[in-house]
Amino acid sequence: MTGGLADYFAMGGYAGFVWPAYAVALAVLGGLAIHSWHRYRASRDALDRLQRPAGARR
């Protein structure tokens, strides 16, 4: 912790491995989370439309 921020980001020379590892995890797990969330919202909205047709029967 001598050279401050730049030193930290250099990760003792392993920057090219440490940061991509965290980036890959974020991309894969974050991507799955976002995709799953969008599909969930879509499925819920589609079901709502089916259960409450225009001019509600009930």
Partner: protein
């Protein structure tokens, strides 16, 4: 019949209440875990800062194995007891397990290059985890390969069960064969050999990944149940409505949630 319908309904009610809380706790755990791993944990005396890859790689590997076990147990329950939620759970979990396995393989590769001098080696541990990844993909492909969803689910369940033999192979590969991969340092007889300053963030990340799995599992199961219900409604109309009056299919033809 009634209880079969009631279970998914009860699941939807309970999971709907749990989902936002689970999501919030998961997010907090992930932020704390990543901050601890990147800022607070000390560099290793041999591996330097590259050891920070461990905080992603090892929990991802644990999840890759546990999620597969979950898929296999759920598949067994689906095959034996035909519990209506078991197949839904197995199919919702498989892509999550595949994602954790991919993260494990990719971070392992990024860690292997500086430490071993190779992105990839065909040794027992790495190869058996790659096989696990293909088992996940095979399960997902097989489930979706049939026009008849219930046949796809059965075929997938059988594959998931057969694939269980791979789990002990992965776990003990580092003991059975000569490999570059280091042996277990946390889940071993006689306790962990890893220092507490690294063990704690490792366990926080493991808990965060576990929570992430639960949140994603509930989310994806709810999605599947919504989609099934919507499909049934499109085919058979609203229960009690006379919109489809004539030609209402006999009850036996209804795919009651299955």
């Amino acid at each position: 019949m009634l209880s079969t319908l009631a279970n998914p309904a009860r699941f939807m009610r309970l999971s709907g209440g749990a989902l936002p809380w689970l999501g919030g706790v998961t997010l907090v755990a992930l932020v704390v875990g990543v901050a601890w791993s990147l800022l607070l944990a000390p560099p290793d005396y041999q591996q330097g800062e590259s050891v920070r890859i461990m905080f992603i790689h090892v929990p991802a590997a644990w999840m890759a194995l546990s999620v597969y076990l979950f898929v296999a147990v759920a598949s067994a329950v689906a095959l034996v007891w035909r519990h209506p939620l078991a197949e839904v759970a197995a199919q919702a979990a498989a892509p999550i397990g595949a994602a954790f396995t991919l993260v494990c393989l990719a971070t392992g590769s990024l860690w292997g290059r500086p430490m071993w001098g190779a992105w990839w080696v065909w040794d027992a541990r790495l190869t058996s985890v790659l096989v696990l990844f293909f088992l996940y993909l095979g399960y997902i492909a097989l489930v979706n390969a049939f026009d008849d969803a219930s046949r796809g689910a059965r075929a997938g369940s059988l594959l998931a069960l057969v694939g269980v033999v791979n789990l002990p192979i992965i776990k003990f590969s580092v003991d059975w064969w000569n490999t570059l991969h280091q042996p277990a340092s946390v889940m071993r007889l006689g306790g962990p050999t890893i220092d507490v300053s690294m063990l704690v963030p490792l366990l926080v990340m493991a808990a965060a990944f576990g929570l992430l799995f639960l949140w994603l599992l509930l989310l994806r199961m709810r999605t599947a149940l919504n989609e099934r219900k919507a499909r049934a409604l499109r085919l058979y109309g609203l229960p009690g409505s006379d919109a489809t009056g004539i030609g209402e299919p006999v009850a036996a033809a209804r795919p009651a949630w299955r």
